[in-house]
């Protein structure tokens, strides 16, 4: 800027040790103004947003956020990230609403034929599933042998139609099987276990299985009463189909030897079951959410 300034270098005027000096390369003054401006900005920010801790409380700032909570009440709160999130969620819900309405109004089969709606079901359903169902059924719906059924296979204890899935989610389920060690002796239990293993093609002792067959259809054990004379189960009461290769309570595929497989079945027959409890979701989810979830679960691959 030699247009106006001499080219000689300026110093700050300090001299140390006779000849040590400091160059002065002054900052432009707008730079200083910029600094003051940011101080003022900080003050304004402090007044608008929560900032200082004061004892057990803090300065909350003037800014407020208004949102509608789960119960439909309108709330006004000092600005904070949670209130902001609630507000953002309100807006997201508003944007999703037309799709939810469409899902609620359409029969399941028509939803499944509309590619764009199916797209929505898959993305929104995934979120609802992750929030509510994944804790038991796992995030992909694969379940956990011995605890929670796999929703991606084609075996449905209570039926895999849209209506049945919707009913299951809405009202919940409670699976129960009595403990047979009270009624049967160990040999009888062993025979039964061998028979059940043979039903789905697992290796079993043929003689024991034959005896088990008789017992299965007898009045002593009366297994057929719940599982049906063909052992294919009855979906009205949720009794398992024993002839397919899918096991929920007895971890047969997880065992290495035929003996252990039979033993896994043995244990279940002996001790019975009172674990197949699925809670009812009608109090927690709205009907349109349940409907969407139904379509999603049906689409996981197992729906019938």
């Amino acid at each position: 800027m030699s247009q106006q300034k001499t080219q000689s270098v300026q110093t700050t005027g300090h001299v140390w040790d006779d000849d040590l000096q400091e160059y002065s390369n002054p900052l432009p003054s707008w730079w200083l103004m910029g600094f003051y401006a940011s101080v003022i900005m900080a003050l304004i920010y402090w007044m608008i947003y929560p900032a200082w801790p004061v004892g057990k409380h803090f300065t909350t700032g003037f800014n407020t956020v208004t949102y509608v909570n789960d119960k439909g009440q309108e709330k006004s709160w000092h600005w904070n990230t949670r209130a902001q999130l609630m507000k953002d969620m309100n807006e997201a819900q508003k944007m999703q609403k037309p799709y939810f309405d469409k899902v609620a109004a359409m029969p399941f089969d028509d939803i499944a034929k509309d590619p764009e709606l199916t797209n929505f079901v898959n993305s929104a359903g995934k979120a609802i599933f992750a929030d509510n169902c994944a804790a038991c059924h796992q995030s992909g719906g694969q379940g956990k042998p011995g605890y929670f059924p796999n929703l991606t296979d084609d075996d449905w204890l209570y039926g895999g139609s849209y209506a049945k899935i919707q009913e299951t989610i809405t009202n919940g389920r409670h699976g129960y099987m009595p403990a047979f060690k009270e009624v049967l002796n160990d040999a009888q239990l062993d025979n039964l276990a061998n028979y059940v293993a043979s039903l789905s093609g697992e290796k079993a002792d043929a003689a024991k299985a034959k005896a088990g067959d008789a017992l299965f259809h007898s009045e002593t054990a009366a297994c057929y009463y719940c599982h049906g004379t063909d052992a294919k189960g009855r979906q009205q009461i949720g009794s398992a189909n024993l002839t397919d290769k899918i096991w929920l309570w007895a971890d047969v595929p997880g065992q290495t030897s035929p003996e252990k497989k039979v033993e896994a079945i043995h244990t279940v027959i002996a001790n019975g079951l009172n674990r197949g409890v699925m809670p009812a979701w009608q109090d927690r989810l709205k009907p349109e959410q349940i409907k969407l979830l139904t379509a999603y679960v049906h689409g996981l691959g197992g729906g019938k």
Partner: protein, 476 residues
């Protein structure tokens, strides 16, 4: 020489009143400015016909729709790597050009330069040439000063506003947005952007000017590393200008070249015209400085002086450091035969070629398959194994399209897509469809990899094969 007088830590801006100048660099700058402005201010208004799609604007950045329309090219988020290629090309071009001809970008193409130039033009039109502006600056406040400065700032603001508003037009349909904007119905973000850009343009081109180049621009900080002795830069030939006895005003006795040579004076007549025209206010006669944006205006100024007094041109010129200090300076010329320049040139050519071929070979279908991994596979009640997949299809064309989906490598009967063996995807939309493949166990063990085929009905030749795999057990 250091002086020991104490000075303030902060410096008031020293105003610069640039003198206007005529010459080839000034003409080039003006031409660049005209071209850039014609493109920038005109482009949003250029209509462009695109099939039956509603967007009829040549350039439109549709942010909510996540699509950039550039003439016949529609850019989707999947094409993000074009952006990285483009950024690389821009970077390489900058290094290439800087190594060759110095800060050519700064002086002629940079937005800051262009807008400052325009603002100076307004300033001069209202307030007059340099001496008049200096007088006005020093004179006490009166009606004349108030009127002239007021008008200048008003025009600056108007120009800044139009600049900002034009920027916003790129993000919406220009004619519609203009009507909305001035009837108060445009989205808030449009007003906010316009406000911010108006203010920043006004401040940067009106008030800050060279301060942006000197203090804010990062490029000024690292340009030095791209220079080398062969780089062409605006330079003052100090050997010729200063001679042995230094520069001298053209008084009697040192007027002609012969007289000056006899007395040992150089060719510079110390008219200071080169300093007065400089937009960053430096004296190029002090040598290469980081403040110099290589705009060439001082070259024009000095050449015009040399012409008027009958001295040869080129006292200030584009030349390389090496040539200036050579025993016998030759005619300035580009030294491109250097490893650095050739290297950047090759990189530039390869990357530009890659971008052009990638853009040229784009198809209207973009598809990808993802295997669902939770669970990786599932056994069905009859013992078959099932794997599930998500196929994402994006129709990048301008017409709705129906896509047929099939498999290659596994029997067609193994594929289950629910209701969507064929899917219709609207122009410019994406859709995700679920597919499941079920195979008997014996088969599952062989068919480890296979392909999904996605075939657009109207252009079967553009079918895409998506390779994927079939899993039947967990990897040990």
């Amino acid at each position: 020489m250091p002086t020991t007088e104490a000075s303030s830590l902060y410096q008031k801006r020293i105003p610069i009143f640039t003198r206007s100048v005529k010459g080839k660099f000034r003409s080039f700058k003006t031409a660049m400015l005209t071209l850039a402005y014609a493109v920038y201010f005109g482009l949003p208004w250029l209509p462009w016909h695109r099939g039956h799609e509603a967007v009829s604007q040549a350039v439109l950045f549709d942010l909510p729709g996540r699509k950039f329309y550039l003439f016949d090219l529609v850019v989707y988020p999947q094409d993000i790597f074009w952006l990285s290629l483009l950024l690389f090309i821009a970077g390489a071009l900058l290094f290439f050009a800087t190594g060759l001809v110095g800060r050519a970008f700064c002086g002629y193409f940079c937005f800051q330069t262009l807008w400052t130039d325009a603002f100076i033009f307004i300033e001069r039109t209202v307030q007059g040439e340099r001496p008049a502006r200096q007088r006005l600056y020093k004179q006490a406040w009166n009606a004349e000063k108030l009127g002239k400065l007021g008008l200048t700032h008003l025009l600056w603001l108007a120009w800044a506003f139009w600049t900002a508003f034009t920027f916003v037009l790129y993000y919406g349909h220009a004619p519609e947005l203009t009507v909305q904007f001035f009837s108060g119905k445009a989205p808030n973000v449009a007003y906010f952007t316009t406000l911010v850009l108006t203010l920043t343009t006004y401040v940067a081109a009106g008030w800050a000017r060279e301060q942006v180049c000197l203090y804010m621009c990062p490029y000024a900080r690292f340009q030095g590393v791209m220079y080398d002795p062969e780089t062409m830069a605006v330079a003052y030939d100090s050997r010729r200008g200063e001679g042995a006895a230094g520069r001298a005003l053209p008084r009697a006795g040192v007027r002609t070249l012969e007289e000056r040579k006899a007395k040992g004076h150089g060719d510079c007549i110390d008219c200071k015209l080169c300093v007065q025209v400089c937009p960053t206010g430096i004296d190029i006669r002090n040598g290469l400085q980081y403040q110099c944006i290589a705009c060439g205006l001082c070259v024009d100024a000095c050449n015009s002086v040399m012409d008027s007094i009958g001295f040869p041109q080129g006292l200030i010129r584009y030349d390389s450091e090496a040539n200036l200090s050579a025993k016998v300076p030759s005619k300035p010329r580009l030294h491109w035969k250097r490893l650095k320049i050739i290297g950047w040139g090759v990189a530039l050519a390869i990357m530009s070629g890659a971008l052009i071929s990638s853009v040229g070979h784009r198809t209207s279908l973009d598809a990808a398959v993802q295997q669902m991994r939770q669970p990786l596979f599932v056994m069905l009640s009859d013992g078959r194994i099932r794997n599930r997949y998500q196929i994402r299809i994006t129709n990048k064309g301008v017409e709705d399209e129906i896509y047929d989906i099939s498999t290659k490598g596994v029997p067609d009967t193994a594929l289950d897509m629910g209701n969507f063996r064929e899917v219709k995807v609207r122009a410019g939309k994406s859709l995700i469809v679920q597919a499941s493949v079920s195979l008997p166990q014996e088969m599952a063990e062989h068919d480890n990899s296979f392909e999904f085929m996605v075939t657009p009905r109207s252009q079967p030749a553009h079918a895409v094969a998506l390779a994927t795999r079939f899993d039947y057990k967990h990897d040990e």
